[in-house]
Each structure stands twice: as structure tokens, then as C-alpha cells.
């Protein structure tokens, strides 16, 4: 009964979505405000219906209702409750429901935080989001219904893939989807602006906080995915340029470019058509990612079970949404105008160059991801494009981008003087160059790539210091340092923090690539191995029973200079239901290094093959991403956004004051 309620709620949600997608947009075109007013209640109603469906599926998992096909396929009676609930998004159908649920959350958020927008604009935005949700609801109801029954019911479920039975997997998909789907808001803003023909600075100002929030979620989501791959897959790697990883990375790149481009549109009125195109691209790439993961056109460790009907549906949907938007763009964008002119050497110029580099990087990732498909389609053979390609094209594109990242914030709008910039930045460059050359040398191994990486990181930090110093000196009437710091807008601090996050990220990547060490050893009980100055002693394995698995747990004592540092317990688990063996690595995390131990295969006499890794600074990779996201959050807490809310709240008392005389 409960699953049928969920199914029915989805059907109703589809009806509401159709209404929400058609009436407000039509109303905005004919300036009928009662039709436009449908948007808000429709968005909220749709949210409640999708929430109902989501809860129904959650309930089916909670009570182990194995008469629901999806529940039987992705959970098991022995699976703990929190993983049963996370199993809602453990496979294709349920993850679509999660996608839809998050889309409805964003719609409700827009309906609440858009009171300051003109009514026609709001109606169009919610209308476009309604149309997007029509597509997804149709997709679910036609070829991927999570509520499909299994009659007769299964005695027990087939269990969730053991790889996904992990706390990271509980949070990673919702985070990533918040980002993916969050770009639908910026997309809807762009389409609404194209429909209405009002592409002005105000449009950019409204889009910015939404884009930044989505970008923050996306950043955390991608970082968590990478972290999950690191500790769960047991190979010690953190990024594999796998098609599905690329599918999440491409919208992130587009979103990053969009944030910077919107800044120009907001402040200077430039880059309008470009911002619109980036907004369309960011969401299109999110949709493309969905297609790649679910259609089976590319091989990937992440790919969902595939079905050609689903692939075809998403492709048609993709063609309509993206194709339609791009046609609309080609039709309306020429009238938008170019905004104010600027010199090549100016903040606009640098942001434009940065944007071009980001989009070029995006294009090369897209090319590398789809290249095997292109060749196969043209019958030119089967190839796979791997990390060497991506590393080779990515570094040369990112190096100038990072360099510009240091200069951009110091350059004036419209026109800047190159010699003056050079003088302001000569110390920053000198200091970062010397440090970058000396540090790897002190660490005992000098390579050009490590120096280049560190140069980029130190350059970002040094330019931030120069910029901060100049601005704090200029801040008028601040008096004390604290007062001066408070004078600078939070949006500025957000940028500083996010850029510093990029620097931390680069330090992490550089150090790991330059100094990591690994060993694949056969270890008898009591035997030791040395790596990176640490001594690992293997004390054998013992059997441990988990809720739905049995594990061989190894004990490894780690010591440095004779003093014990930590004890590590790597596991080799065998999950009963799918009879799958999983390597559960043990990781000793530290600020300056990770020790990473995973069990290979058992050998005779209680010995095991053991993989040991020493990974300097690896946590800085994810730490840097979190700092970037924190910068984003700081930026949206800026005064001007808070003022916008406050002004809106202030309207109520004003009306009350006006009403008073009529009462008395």
C-alpha cells in the first residue's frame, strides 16, 4: 500500500509539474499575473508530493519490504538501517528519485527566496524548473519506477553493493546532487532571462548566490567522491580520470567559470552572453553526466546497470533541453549586447582569460572522456584514454590559469598597467620562486614538477598577502587592524579563502605526486617492513564478524625511531549475500602525511601480501576543497545579500504602518 502511495504521489507530481511548466511561462508571455502566480504554490505542492514519494521509498527500505523490486535489489535483511536508508540512492531508480527530490528542494528554495524578483522573472524561473522536473518525472514513471512491485515478494534482498556500504557513500551522492541540480537554478535564471529579454546586471546579481551555493555543494561532493575512492577502493589513489569522475568534474569547471563570469556581469555589465552560455553549459554537463552514468555508452567502475531504453530516453531529453536552450540562446543572445569595453590588461581581461582556460580544460576533459566513444562510433578501433592524457593536457592549461589567479584580484577594472602590476607583485614572485626551489631541495629530492607545483601554490598565497596588505592599508577609517578587516566585504574574504583553498589543494597534489612511496610486500607474522621512515610490523590476522560480512583483520604496529606511532587494522571482508570480497584499508591520517595499509591476498603459513603507502600531505587535497567551499559560503554571507533579505522583511512593518491610519 505504502509504495503505491509513493507511486501515486509521483504521478500527481508530474501533473503539477506540467502545470508549473506551462501556465507561468505562458502567463509571463501574455502578462497575466494570475497565471504567473500559479508558479509558487505549484513548486511547493510538487515538493510535498516528491517528499511523500521519497518517504514512502524510505519506509519500504526501513520495513524491509522485499515485495518492492528496487528494495529487494539493493538491500538485505541483514543490512543495518542506516545503510538501508542510504540504499535509497544506491542504484539507478532511487538515485533518480533523490535527484528529483533535490530538484524540488531547490524549487521550494527559489519560491521562498525570490520575493525580491519581478513577478514575470520568478514565474519564468519556476516554470523552467518545472519543465526540467517534467522530464525527470516522466523518466522515472516510464522506464525507471522505484516503486515497481515484485510479485511474489523475494524472501530476502540481493543486498547493497558492498562498495557502497560506507559512511562516505551515505553523504556523497546527496552532496553531489545538490551541486548538479543546483546548477538547474542558474540555468533557469539564464533561460528566464533569455525568454524575457532582460539580461542585465540585476540578473547576474540574483544568479550569483544560487550559483555559488550550488558550486559549494559540488565542490564538497566531488571532494568526498575522491576521498571515498581513496579509502574504499584500497589502491591508495584519489583521482582516476574515470568517465564518471569526469562527469562530475566538468560541471564543476563550468560552474567555476560561471561564478567568475557572473562577477563581471554583476560588477561591470560585461560578459552577458558568455555568462548565459556558461549557465547553460554547467547544467547541460550535469545532464550529460547523468546520461553517461546510466546509458552504458562508456565503461566505468561507477556505471549503473544499464538499459538501452533508459539511455535513449535520457538522450532525447538531453537533446530537447540542451538543444532547445542553445537554439534559444542563438536566437536571443545576439540582442543582449556586449557590455562595456575593456583593455586586454584589466581585471575583465584576466577573468576572461581565466574563463577561456577553464573552458579549454573543460573541453579537453570532455574530449578525453568521449574520445573512446567517437573512435568506436567511427569504427576506428577501441581505445581507452587514461590519466597520461589528462595529466598532459591539464597541467599546461591550469598553470597560466593559476598564474592569472594571483594577478587578477590586484588588477583594476577596465584598464590596468602591466608595469605597475609587475612592481606590486615582484616581491610575491621572488619569494614564491625561492621557496619553491628551496623546499623540495630541503626535502631531499628536487624535481622540476614539484617546484612548479609549489611555485603555483606559493604564488597564490603570496599574491593574497600582497593584495590583503594593500587593501588593509587603504581601508579608510578602520583604525585598528580588526576594524580594517571588518571593513572589507565578506565577498572579498570569500574569494581570498577560496583561492587559498586552491593553494592548499595544489600543495597536496604536488607533495603526493612528488614524494609518495609505496611497497608491495609479503609479510610473515612478526616480520617488519620500512617505508618513509616508518617501520611496520605485521602481527597476523584474526577473524572478525560484522553484521553482514566476515573479515580477516590484520594488526600492524607502526613505529618511528623505535617509538610506537599507531596500530593499524586493515581488513579483508567477505560480504555474504553477494559473496564479494572487499579490501578495507587502514589509514592513519595526519596533517603532514597519511599511512595507508591494505591487505592483498593470504599466503601460506599466516603470511599475507600487504601494500604499504606513505602519502605526504594527501589530506590537503580534500582540505583544500573544503576551504574552497568555505570561501563560497563566506561569499554568500556578504552584507549585500543579507541586506536584500532584510529589506524584504522590512516591507511587512511598513505595510503595517500604512494600514494603521485606516484602523484608527
Amino acid at each position: 500500500m505504502i509504495p503505491e502511495i509513493g507511486h501515486y504521489a509521483l504521478i500527481l507530481a508530474l501533473c503539477v509539474a506540467v502545470v508549473q511548466g506551462v501556465l507561468p511561462i505562458y502567463g509571463a508571455a501574455v502578462r497575466n499575473s494570475s497565471l504567473m502566480a500559479v508558479a509558487k504554490p505549484a513548486a511547493r505542492g510538487q515538493f510535498l508530493l516528491v517528499l511523500t514519494a521519497f518517504c514512502c521509498l524510505g519506509y519500504a527500505f526501513a520495513v524491509k519490504d522485499f515485495s518492492v523490486l528496487y528494495v529487494a535489489a539493493t538491500s538485505n535483511s541483514q543490512l543495518p538501517l542506516h545503510y538501508r536508508l542510504a540504499a535509497i540512492w544506491g542504484a539507478h531508480e532511487g538515485s533518480l528519485l533523490l535527484w528529483m527530490f533535490i530538484l524540488s528542494i531547490w524549487m521550494v528554495a527559489v519560491s521562498f527566496f525570490s520575493t525580491h524578483l519581478p513577478e514575470a522573472m520568478r514565474a519564468r524561473i519556476l516554470g523552467v524548473m518545472g519543465l526540467v522536473s517534467v522530464g525527470f518525472l516522466l523518466f522515472m514513471l516510464t522506464v525507471s519506477n522505484p516503486f515497481e512491485r515484485l510479485i511474489p515478494a523475494a524472501l530476502d534482498g540481493r543486498d547493497l553493493n558492498p562498495l557502497l556500504q560506507d559512511p562516505g557513500m551515505v553523504i556523497h551522492p546527496p552532496m553531489l546532487y545538490m551541486g548538479y541540480v543546483g546548477f538547474s537554478v542558474a540555468f533557469s535564471f539564464a533561460i528566464a532571462a533569455l525568454l524575457g529579454g532582460t539580461l542585465d546586471a540585476a540578473w547576474a546579481r540574483w544568479s550569483r548566490p544560487w550559483t555559488t551555493v550550488a558550486w559549494c555543494f559540488m565542490t564538497v561532493g566531488v571532494a568526498m567522491g575522491s576521498g571515498w575512492a581513496y579509502y574504499e577502493l584500497g589502491w591508495g589513489g584519489w583521482w582516476f580520470w574515470d568517465p564518471v569522475e569526469n562527469a562530475s568534474f566538468m560541471p564543476w569547471l563550468a560552474g567555476t567559470a560561471l561564478m567568475h563570469s557572473l562577477a563581471v556581469t554583476d560588477k561591470r555589465g560585461g560578459f552577458k552572453a558568455w555568462s548565459v552560455l556558461l549557465a547553460i553549459m554547467a547544467f547541460s554537463l550535469s545532464l550529460l553526466g547523468t546520461f553517461l552514468v546510466r546509458s552504458g555508452v562508456l565503461t566505468s567502475v561507477h556505471a549503473f546497470a544499464t538499459d538501452p531504453k533508459r539511455g535513449l530516453f535520457i538522450l532525447v531529453f538531453l537533446a530537447i533541453v540542451i538543444g532547445g536552450s542553445l537554439v534559444l540562446y542563438a536566437w536571443r543572445a545576439p540582442r543582449v549586447g556586449l557590455g562595456g569595453g575593456f583593455a586586454l590588461i584589466s581585471r575583465e581581461g584576466m577573468l576572461l582569460a581565466n574563463n577561456v582556460l577553464l573552458v579549454a580544460a573543460l573541453g579537453s576533459v570532455l574530449l578525453g572522456t568521449l574520445y573512446p566513444l567517437f573512435l568506436d562510433a567511427l569504427d576506428l578501433g577501441k581505445i581507452s584514454v587514461g590519466p597520461p592524457y589528462f595529466d598532459t593536457v591539464f597541467l599546461p592549461l591550469m598553470t597560466p590559469a593559476i598564474f592569472l589567479m594571483g594577478i587578477g584580484p590586484l588588477a583594476q577594472w577596465k584598464q590596468a598597467s602591466l608595469p605597475a602590476l609587475a612592481i606590486r607583485l615582484r616581491w610575491a614572485f621572488g619569494v614564491s620562486l625561492v621557496t619553491a626551489v628551496v623546499v623540495p631541495w630541503l626535502m631531499g629530492q628536487w624535481t622540476p614538477l614539484v617546484t612548479l607545483g609549489l611555485l603555483m601554490a606559493f604564488w597564490i598565497l603570496a599574491t593574497i598577502v600582497v593584495d590583503l596588505r594593500e587593501r588593509l592599508l587603504q581601508a579608510e577609517g578602520g583604525g585598528s587592524i580588526g576594524g580594517r578587516v571588518a571593513l572589507l566585504p565578506r565577498a572579498y574574504w570569500g574569494m581570498v579563502v577560496a583561492h587559498a583553498g586552491v593553494a592548499l589543494f595544489i600543495v597536496g597534489v604536488t607533495m603526493v605526486k612528488g614524494f609518495e612511496a609505496e611497497q608491495d610486500v609479503r609479510m610473515n607474522v612478526g616480520e617488519t617492513a620500512t617505508l618513509g621512515g616508518y617501520t611496520f610490523r605485521f602481527d597476523g590476522t584474526q577473524q572478525v564478524n560484522g553484521p553482514n560480512y566476515v573479515a580477516a583483520r590484520g594488526t600492524i604496529h607502526v613505529s618511528q625511531d623505535g617509538k610506537e606511532v599507531t596500530v593499524m587494522y586493515p581488513e579483508k571482508r567477505r560480504y555474504f549475500v553477494q559473496n564479494q570480497t572487499m579490501t578495507e584499508a587502514a589509514i592513519a591520517t595526519g596533517l603532514l602525511r597519511d599511512l595507508y595499509v591494505s591487505l592483498g591476498e593470504p599466503l601460506e603459513g599466516g603470511a599475507w601480501s600487504v601494500r604499504l603507502y606513505h602519502k605526504p600531505f594527501i589530506d590537503w587535497i580534500w582540505g583544500g576543497c573544503l576551504v574552497m567551499a568555505a570561501g563560497g559560503i563566506l561569499a554568500i554571507s556578504d552584507r549585500r545579500y543579507r541586506l536584500a533579505w532584510r529589506r524584504k522583511e522590512a516591507t511587512v512593518p511598513v505595510e503595517a504602518q500604512l494600514a494603521r491610519p485606516t484602523v484608527t
Binding site: S295, A330, L373, A377, E601
Partner: protein, 175 residues
């Protein structure tokens, strides 16, 4: 020509490729081992652990080598096809019980039927590595000289058997 149409044009090209991509199977990888000598093995037999089955014993005839396991879902899907083929007696099928437990494998064959002449036991999966097994089930066609002529990744289906494997087997048998 409107330069704002460029993104749309690029997109159309990508969609075209994606549409073609839907009709292709990226998992259909040509094996580098096709055309090369089948890696040798000498392993205990499933039904009689005391005896050994060696690839050298099979020289001089065309045979199929099928990697399977009792824990593998796809193996159950292809099982009726194998049984049917075994009943026709056209070509001998040898099984390779891959990373499996003896008792479970025996129970599985007892329940679903045994299409194999002899089943070899590859418990650590070493032979699977030599053959480049991506995942079970996989099936190899090996000729009289002990050369791999064809590799099927994933479950066998009647149509693959009729169109690809059996014509090849007959051709090889007549050589």
C-alpha cells in the same frame, strides 16, 4: 552565419555520436590473447581432486573453455545455453571453476546440471589472470593447436552461439 549558433552546432555533433554510442557495446573488447597460444594450466579436477586436468591433454581437438563460478549470476543465465550445447555433442566444453568453493560448486552443478566434460579448479584465480578474465562468465574457443580463436565476455546467448561461435568451431574442426 550567426556565431551564437556555434554551441548548438557542436552540441548536435556530440548528440550524434552519443546516439551511435548507444548502439555500441563498450564492454566488447578485443582480447589481445586472440590468435595467441592459450596459457597452459595443470589443475586439480572438481569432481575428483586427486586427478589433474592439463591443457596439454586437450591438444588435437577444438574445445571451449568456460570460466564460471557458483557465486556468479551471469553464469546461471548462460547455463541453459551451455546445457543445450553439451547435449548436441558438437564441441566439448571444459569448465574452469573460478575463485569458488568446491562444495558450493559441486552443489550448483548438481542442482542445475553439468554441461562440462571436466571441470578444473582455479581457486586463487591465477589461471584467470593468465587468460585476462575481466569477470565471469567468459568463454574461449581454442583450436587443435591450442590457440585461442575467440573470446566471449559475459554470458553466452543462443544467437552468439549460432552466428559466431558454432560456425567458427565447425571451420576449425574441418582444418
Amino acid at each position: 552565419m550567426n556565431r551564437f549558433l556555434i554551441p548548438f552546432g557542436l552540441f548536435i555533433v556530440v548528440v550524434g555520436f552519443l546516439a551511435v554510442g548507444l548502439t555500441l557495446n563498450p564492454r566488447e573488447l578485443p582480447s589481445p590473447l586472440v590468435g595467441k597460444a592459450a596459457p597452459e594450466f595443470s589443475l586439480p579436477q572438481l569432481h575428483d581432486p586427486g586427478k589433474v586436468i592439463s591443457s596439454n591433454d586437450l591438444k588435437g581437438k577444438v574445445w571451449l573453455l568456460n570460466f564460471w563460478a557458483s557465486w556468479c549470476g551471469g553464469c546461471k543465465d548462460e547455463h541453459p545455453v551451455l546445457i543445450h550445447l553439451a547435449q548436441s555433442g558438437e564441441v566439448p566444453i571444459y569448465g574452469m571453476d573460478y575463485k569458488d568453493q568446491r562444495s558450493e560448486a559441486l552443489a550448483w552443478l548438481k542442482e542445475w546440471g553439468n554441461p562440462y566434460q571436466i571441470v578444473a579448479v582455479d581457486e586463487p584465480g591465477r589461471i584467470g589472470i593468465n587468460y585476462g578474465v575481466y569477470g565471469v562468465p567468459e568463454t574461449y574457443v581454442i583450436d587443435k593447436a591450442g590457440v585461442i580463436r575467440y573470446k566471449q565476455i559475459g554470458p553466452l546467448r543462443e544467437d552468439i552461439l549460432d552466428k559466431k561461435i558454432m560456425p567458427l568451431v565447425r571451420e576449425l574442426q574441418n582444418q
